[in-house]
Amino acid sequence: MRAQSSSDELRKLYETAGPAAFRRASRLLQNEADAWDVVQEVFQKILETSVPRSGTGMAFCYVAVTNLCLNRFKMAGVRRRLQPAASSGQADAAGTAVARDLIERLDSRLDGLDRRLIVFAYMDEMSHEEIAAATGVSRKTVGRRLEKIKKLALALAEPEPV
């Protein structure tokens, strides 16, 4: 009875957060097979790990998908030209392209948290409050980090002095 109830709850989480995880992973990785692998890993983690310190099931999925995709970026040594995701709309592709572009161009100047914040802010267009709720980082830190990222990006965009 108890096991059945647990399984039902997991199924409910899978049916709601699973497609959301796939959508976000597809946008970031631009590869559906890899995106399903990420979904698999996320839910395997849900089965295997203890209660996360913050957030609900959806928050855990957002953070886990972001982390796994960013790891894959690093592992694949993403240097390829950005291409709009075939399965998502123009707005999706634009936000994703900005996020990926920032991560690629700022690369060594970013730490893990910066990368996650870029994905949440630029691809997911989450507010600072929402990012703070999902990541467990204070709203102030979110704002400060994103401001720093914006300054770094602007500095990169400036032409070299002649």
């Binding site: 647990s6 997991l10 890899d34 399903w36 890993e41 203890s50 959806m58 997911d124 929402e130």
Partner: protein, 236 residues
């Protein structure tokens, strides 16, 4: 709601799990958010129609049951349940015995644990640690940028090695790193995994997908594999 007074995808996804009257009301009056919500719903249906959706679910059913924290994500939905039932499922009961985190492999230098985004300097001494969640054996393979696969730990062994009883203890020996990017794929098991079979499996996977993270669900062999984890070692 974000600064533009529209619902983010995050908020729309949350709505599927938790009812939010204010957000629902906003959806009824905002054409942009309503359209985005429909778009997300359509993408959700499409994902659920994919054969991989049920394939992933089936594979999850084969994962041995552990502490399933996600049930607590639904606690608000069950607020009306009797107090005795709530006590029965509350998470605090498990706090004392809960292991931290999931399967993992981590890289350490003299300066501490290496964050995935921090490169290591060439020539630095590096050691690895694993969280095996109680599994006795680990096999760590490395995939370089060219897609070559080799055993990283235990070095030179033909099969998985026994891991230290204390998870925080680094695996011996430490090794010096050379420039480049190395993806570390760790496989955890209760019985030793033959290194050659694992290498060949990973090679096939790399040949199909290119170098990079291969630790998704579809590595086909490793019959004794109980869990896996990966990380990247960036040396520059």
């Amino acid at each position: 709601m974000n600064a533009q007074s529209h619902l983010s995808d995050w908020a729309l996804d949350q709505l599927a799990l938790e009812p939010d009257a204010a957000a629902r009301e906003h959806l009824n009056t905002c054409a942009r958010c309503s359209a985005r919500s429909s778009d997300i719903a359509q993408q959700r249906r499409k994902a659920m129609e994919s054969p991989r959706f049920e394939a992933v679910w089936s594979s999850l059913q084969r994962v041995p049951p552990r502490r399933r924290w996600w049930r607590f994500a639904f606690v608000p939905a069950f607020a009306g349940v009797a107090a005795a039932s709530i006590l029965w499922i509350r998470p605090a009961r498990h706090d004392a015995i809960r292991p931290k985190g999931g399967y993992s492999v981590a890289v350490w230098t003299a300066h501490g644990r290496v964050d995935g985004s921090q490169p290591v300097r060439p020539g630095e001494n590096v050691s690895l640690s694993v969280n095996t969640l109680g599994r006795k054996y680990a096999l760590i393979l490395g995939v370089d940028e060219a897609g070559a696969v080799a055993v990283v730990w235990p070095p030179g062994a033909g099969q998985s090695g026994e891991t230290p009883a204390a998870p925080a203890r680094p695996l011996a020996p430490a090794f010096k790193v050379t420039p480049g990017s190395l993806t570390l794929e760790a496989f955890f098991s209760d019985k030793p995994i033959p290194a050659q079979a694992a290498i060949e499996s990973l090679r096939r996977r790399v040949a199909a997908n290119g170098p990079g993270a291969q630790s998704g669900q579809s590595i086909p062999v490793l019959p004794f594999e109980s869990g896996r984890a990966s990380t990247v070692l960036e040396v520059r």
